[in-house]
Amino acid sequence: MTIDVALIIKAIIILLIFGITLLIAMYSTYGERKVAAFMQDRIGPNRAGPFGLLQPLADAVKMFFKEDFIPSQASKWLFILGPCLSMLTALMTSAVIPFGDSVKYESAPGKVWDIPVQAIDVNIGILYVFGVVSLGVYGIMVGGWASNNKFSLLGAIRAASQNISYEISMGLAIIAILMMTGSLSIRHIVEQQHGGNWNIFYQPLGFIIFITCAFAECNRTPFDLPECETELIGGYHTEYSSMKLGFYLFAEYINMFVSSAMISSLYFGGYNYPGMDWVQAQLTSSLGEIAGHNVGTLIGTLVFFAKSLFFVFFYMWVRWTLPRFRYDQLMNLGWKALIPLAMINIILTGGAILFLKPLIVSFLK
């Protein structure tokens, strides 16, 4: 029966990760409106509940009760498949993100389970995320095409070409990190950044490339061309209403949170924070081995969420600062600026690993 408790803890962790992802995506919609309002010297939603905190619920109720409309000329099954695919790919990504260190549980004296706070630790975590993100565009393409609307189709086509273009430089930016860490597992990469050894200090250029591509992959301003209201009405979701539209919008916010989590675990040390070892030592000496470890994990997880939420805020901050790119500017930036830069970054990283690192190591000796 001992393994059952460990399994239950694992199941609880998975459910928590899933639930928290959804909750954060839900409150990101509220956060977006508040941030937008504050940056425009307004107050934002404040009528539903204290400080408008029930606004996401009100929005959800509105979404559910609206008429669910399918255009008569639309391809019905694909029209339904589109938002489902979007939501599915958005939710699949959070499975491999390490939200925290590990939970220890002693089933019998001397027998300690060490359960990582992560749904699954695949040894190709980054590739998994990359693969699922590259599938995210299908939801948009299928939905946009199935709507049988020229604006939707234009939005879908834009989404496709934009995502393919920016995936390349995103992958190249990640390769520089992989060269440094030598591992495809996100947990490994996070563990190697222990002790203030964050990748952002080694890969500033890679970080800028990655975050730009993350904006483009999430279809966020300044790269929200697939749905730009001023040119394409609603882009790929012009014909959508009710909860199908809700799924599309919700998937965008989940993507935003997941990419923020990826940024903080790839470049900002994930659940590591300065002075972590000291805090951990204090906790284990005062609370005991297992309880101290678990509290330390909790603090690490909170730090991770703080970092991720900062980047969610950053997404919104940029959205309400920068205007949308023109389409040729977008393509020029992707193909003529970011890809060469990412390649230079790879060469520089390789050179640094080959020549600079032995030099520094011998100097320190």
């Binding site: 990359f130 590259s134 599938l135 086509i157 496709a160 393919i164 495809l184």
Partner: protein, 181 residues
């Protein structure tokens, strides 16, 4: 061995294998059989997913992920991208002539014959549980093979890609005084 005893002896892994194979063949057939090219492409994507499932069953996670990223994530997006530009309502009369039908029959039949011939000659290596290395499909061993044993073919292939890329750039290059938009 009758069907019920076959079912009883099914381990989860083999059961999953049969299920995946069934799905792969079904979606593969649907690629050919569906009238709408968009549906064909979507079925093809599903086929790639099934193939990735097979890779996972073979403990080749890297191949599975790369298959999805490259084929399902990039190439099929481009396929879909191009097909979306087609005017699907317009019947293409040229592809319906008897000549094209006969040509398609001949080429398809030849391909089928070749497959059958190859299949008959193939000898399947026996599975040896002792010499089998479960890590053979992992990234590390794949890298070792690619960059040690097959370095020259690998680099030649990358040069080929470079040539293709330069060719594409040359074709798409804007001439002096030429404006596309």
């Amino acid at each position: 061995m009758d069907f019920s005893s076959f079912l009883n002896n099914l381990t989860p892994a083999t059961g999953f294998f049969y299920f995946l194979s069934f799905l792969t063949i079904l979606t593969g057939l649907m690629v050919v059989l569906s009238k709408n090219p968009i549906h064909s492409v979507l079925y093809l994507i599903a086929t790639f997913f099934c193939l990735s499932g097979h890779y996972v069953l073979l403990n080749a996670q890297f191949l599975a992920a790369v298959n999805i990223i490259v084929y399902a994530g990039a190439i099929m997006v481009l396929f879909l991208f191009v097909i979306m530009f087609l005017n699907l309502k317009q019947e293409d009369e040229e592809s319906k002539t008897n000549l094209t039908k006969i040509a398609a029959m001949v080429t398809g039949g030849t391909l089928f014959l070749i497959f059958v011939a190859v299949f008959r000659k193939t000898q399947f290596g026996a599975f040896d549980a002792y010499s089998f290395d479960s890590q053979v499909g992992m990234v590390e061993s794949l890298g070792e093979v690619l960059y040690k044993d097959y370095l020259l073919p690998f680099e030649l292939a990358s040069v080929l890609f470079l040539v293709a890329m330069i060719g594409a750039v040359m074709l798409g290059r804007r001439e002096a005084g030429d404006r596309h938009f």
